[in-house]
């Protein structure tokens, strides 16, 4: 009886892991398949589809996505750190309410935020800013609460005695911020900024309302294309963008992001 259960348990885990990895494996296989109809597993492989990635059709949206994600990561990083500093470090009166306000966009589905922003811009007659400026603004609204929360958690968790020690040794506030507070919260902030970059780069539900012909982000270009064709170029585009994201995470990790934070940020 017990043995049957153990077998079932392992079988269940194996099935779930297959379910999780199957679509990814299929996309990678399709991107290397020589046949233009994406059907069966390829027995021969080719990298010819990856050659299409440098066509304007994919390169332009990719560059726009990178540009927007970089700006969004930068803006939400700065604003998030400032807000967390004001609420947690300076302990402004009413911080709980302020924090709830800063995090409130999290409880609204993205598609609803998207509708709201596009209606608002149209009503006030700013349809002209659709495209890059609107995308940046909307992605900042999306990313800012996450960055603020991560920065606030880092600020609340770091050992205040270090700061007090520096103060009693005569360090000015500016020196303490520069040499103690900022280095201590750096891992948390960096992972927040990486996260902001990724959610902007991959975003669909907000972007779908705000892109303009000729001003389209990569995921939107991909889903527009998918509506009428499933060819292997799509697989190549998707695999390339996944590799790009993994590289970004790896680079931020090198600068001292996630794992430093996992080890308690005590470097």
């Amino acid at each position: 009886m017990n043995r049957v259960l153990t077998c079932l348990f392992w079988l269940a885990i194996a099935l779930v892991l297959t379910f999780i990895t199957l679509p990814l494996a299929v996309v990678v296989a399709a991107s290397l398949s020589p046949s233009s109809a994406v059907t069966f597993l390829p027995w021969e492989w080719t990298t010819v589809w990856y050659g299409n990635l440098l066509a304007d059709r994919w390169l332009q949206p990719f560059l726009l996505s990178v540009k927007i994600a970089t700006v969004v990561a930068g803006i939400s990083g700065v604003l998030g750190v400032l807000a967390a500093y004001a609420v947690v470090y300076e302990r402004l009166p009413g911080s709980t309410a302020i924090m709830a306000g800063l995090l409130s966009p999290l409880s609204v589905p993205q598609i609803v935020k998207g509708v709201a922003i596009v209606l608002f811009l149209s009503i006030i007659g700013l349809q002209g800013v659709l495209g890059t400026p609107a995308l940046i603004a909307a992605h900042v609204v999306l990313a800012l609460p996450f960055v603020t929360r991560m920065a606030a958690t880092s600020l609340a968790n770091f050992d205040g005695n270090l700061d007090r020690a520096a103060q009693s040794l005569g360090a000015t506030k500016r020196q303490r911020l520069q040499h103690i507070v900022l280095p201590m919260i750096k891992p948390g902030v960096l992972s927040g900024v990486t996260f902001a970059f990724i959610i902007s780069f991959n975003n669909i539900p907000l972007s779908v309302f705000l892109v303009r012909p000729g001003d389209t982000t990569l995921p939107i270009a991909v889903i527009n294309y998918l509506e009428y064709s499933l060819d292997p170029v799509m697989a190549a585009v998707n695999v390339a963008s996944m590799i790009f994201i993994l590289t970004v995470i790896f680079l931020f990790e090198k600068v001292g992001g996630f794992s430093a934070q996992l080890h308690g940020g005590s470097k």
Binding site: F9, V16, L24, Y89, E90, L92, F158, L226
Partner: protein, 299 residues
Amino acid sequence: MSTIALTAPAAMPGAPARSSGYLVLAPSCLVLTIFFALPMGTMIGMSFMDAQTLSPTLLNYQRFFSDGLSLAGLYRTAVMSILVAVCVTVLGYPVAYYLARSRSRWRALVFALALAPELAGVVLRTYGWLIILEDRGFINDMLINLGLIASPLPLSKNLFAVVVGLTHVVLPFGILSLTTSIQGIDPNLERAAQMLGASRLSVIRHIILPLSVPGIVSSLLISFTMAASAYATPALLGGARFKVLATMIYEQVLFYIDWGFAAVMAIALLIMMLAISFLGIRYETRRGNRRSNREGEAS
């Protein structure tokens, strides 16, 4: 979840520079006001207005409840989200149990396999399922080649495809919340029961499952809210034949350009999500109360 930062002791006693504190807060507040609060207000206002004349009206709401299509969309969204929540929790549970209890060196691999897809982005994964489930896709192609079926099975552009795709998208979050909850159960309880002669099955039924109910509830809630607000997966895997609120909202805005009605649909989706979150919060506080009562009696 958001209050952790505030209940922990702040790093430093409040400095005298209060005004500078508000000054550094200003940019965030400004951005969120202009691009979140005002748009949300506008949207709610628009839902009570006639799109052409901008005069106040309740017609948009009336239409939502009477046109048959909208309520059907709401119903489909709810059914889809409930199915996804159940699938995620059932599929995620064994993996979460393994991750919570295992000390083996395979644990890291299982963890990576279970969570890494989250980095791949929704489009790549949905595209994978499209290739697998399409009429001329992987599964149908294989079955036809083997001579098992003559015409393709209807695997895509329906509820089944959307539930499969969304389960895949949401599963890592379900696994994470279940793992955290199972890690909180004292493994000695299981050992004690086994020593006293309980079979594996009754340990699961009488100890692990009841004690992990909070994790199960939070997995169900997270999955439901993520599924209900998803756009790309239902758009690609459901298409025109299986429309949910999110895809219907998109159509109203970009094809029919009926802003008032789009606003009503968005508000319906928002209310559904807030209601589910409210249930979750109420469950949490009730459980907290019960626990503190029990502790009160014990002391």
